[in-house]
Every structure is written in C-alpha cells, then in structure tokens.
C-alpha cells in the first residue's frame, strides 16, 4: 500500500532538493555588494513616499471566497472522474444536477457583478 507512494516521495524530494540547491547556490555563488541605491524598491525609479504595505480592497476577499466555493466543487470531481465508467449515466446525471445548482450560483454571482472589478 505504502510502496505505491514512493514515486510521489521521490518527486517531492527532487523538488525540494532542486529548489534548495538553486537558492543555496545563488546565495553562495552570487556576489553581494549592496549599496543604498541598489536596495531601493525601484532602482532608478521614483522613490516611494508611502509605505508599501497598506490595506487592500475588500474585492480581493470576495475573489478568495468565490475561489473557495468553486474549489470545494472541484474537489468532488475527483472521485466522480475516477468512478465515471462504473457509475455510467447515473453518475453523469447526478453530477449534472450538482453542477446545475452551482451554475445557478455562478449565474447569480455574474448577474450581481461579483466577477466585475469596476
């Protein structure tokens, strides 16, 4: 059972190793001679006069909430796709009902301007 995840483990180890190696190598090999001008947020640009951190628009939060809703929808596609051949038409109709109700949600969001940025 556990042996079947060995490729996944190898993949994770390669990814971590590669990222770690690249970051370490660029840190060790790259020359670091910071000067005041180099450390400015925009080199040879306009000097910022307000802090970079500030409150962001609530619209981002709406985007995040809508993302979660359709992310949860998407997670149900996974077992459905695995079983699609086994469930035949029954599974397809079932999922169409599920998607239909969420289609209403999408239509509502669209109509109320949730997808517009203004």
């Amino acid at each position: 059972m556990l042996e079947s995840y060995v490729p996944l483990l190898i993949f994770v180890l390669i990814v971590l190793g590669l990222v770690g190696a690249l970051v370490t190598l660029s840190f060790v090999l790259g020359p670091s001679r910071p000067s005041k001008r180099k450390m400015a947020p925009y080199e040879s640009g306009i000097i910022p006069d307000t802090p970079a951190q500030r409150r962001i628009s609530v619209r981002f939060y709406l985007t995040a909430m809508l993302f979660i809703i359709f992310d949860v929808e998407a997670i149900f596609f996974y077992p459905w796709a695995v079983l699609l051949r086994q469930l035949k038409w029954f599974g397809l109709i079932e999922m169409l009902v599920f998607m239909g109700i969420l289609g209403i949600a999408l239509a509502h969001i669209w109509r109320k301007g949730g997808l517009d940025w203004e």
């Binding site: 939060y61 979660i68 459905w80 469930l87 079932e94 109700i101 509502h108 109320k112």
Partner: protein, 168 residues
C-alpha cells in the same frame, strides 16, 4: 518505514504549530499553518485516506490559507503586528494545556480498539473509489445538498461584499 514517515510528518506538524503561535508577523503564522496542513496531509496518506489527503492539500492548504492571507492583508499593516505580549494568558494557557492532556490521558486509559469488520474489503478502504461509491450511491442526497450549501455560500459572499447602500 511508515513509522519513520509518521514521526517526520508529526514533527513538521508540531514545528508548524509552534510557528503559528510564536511568530509575531501574522503572515509568517499563516505560512506556518500551511506547513501544518501539508504535514497533516501526509498523516492522512499514512492512514490510506487518499481523498482526505487530496482535499487537505487542495482545499485547506490551498484555498482556506489564501482566505487567511487575504484577511491579514485586509486588516492592514497597522493592526498586523501585536504591540505587546499577552501577560496573564501564558499561565492560563498552561492550565488549559494541562487539563487537555489530563483529559486525553484519561480517555486513552479506557480505549479499546475495534477489530475491523471482516465483511469490509480492507484493500480499498479509504481509497478514492470507495469514498466515491459511497458519495454517489448511498449518500447521493447529502452530496446534492452540498451544492445547495455552496449556493447559499455564494449568495452570502456576494451579499457581504456589496457596497454600502448598493441594492443591486
């Protein structure tokens, strides 16, 4: 092998949990929480709960953490960093932790582990196939109700984020 992976993942989860409560910048706390989520997903995989593993990575480590980050960004930098450390809460929390561990210890004394049902095929237990079969046949009605729940959530999200006096 499994026990080694368990201890690595458990240590990651505990380290992430300590990070969540000890970093003073909320952004770092959230990123530590992502580490906790990823470590927990490995534990789920060790219990051969494939579907929960996927849900944990995609929904919790992905979407829910994005929401947390956005909440922090919405609050703005002024409220982000705690000005003073909490004082009397430390001793209070020690008391609660002791109580919790006492409770856990007391519960573990009386635990008897059920033998798995012989009629259940253990080779597919917890796999995506068995979860899906349950979800799309036996629990068909709750599954469809989930979409209604998501619909309500969508309407609520739109309602909450509308502007003051905007009655679209």
């Amino acid at each position: 092998m499994a026990i080694v992976i368990f201890f690595i993942a458990a240590a990651m989860a505990v380290a992430g949990g300590i990070g969540v409560i000890s970093f003073r910048q909320p952004i770092r706390s959230v990123l530590s929480l992502v580490v906790v989520m990823i470590a927990l997903s490995v534990l789920f995989l060790l219990l051969s709960a494939q579907f929960i593993f996927v849900a944990q990575v995609i929904v919790y480590a992905g979407a829910v953490m994005v929401l947390f980050l956005f909440v922090i960004a919405l609050l703005g930098p002024a409220k982000e960093i705690a000005k003073s450390r909490l004082r009397f809460q430390a001793s209070l929390s020690a008391l609660f932790v002791l109580a919790l561990f006492g409770l856990l210890w007391a519960m573990l004394q009386g635990v008897t582990y059920r033998q798995p049902d012989k009629t259940v095929d253990m080779s597919i237990f917890g796999t995506v196939q068995s979860i899906g079969l349950g979800l799309f046949t036996k629990f068909l009605y709750p599954f469809e109700l989930t979409s209604l729940l998501l619909l309500v959530a969508a309407i609520g999200a739109i309602y909450l984020s509308r502007k003051e006096g905007d009655d679209r």
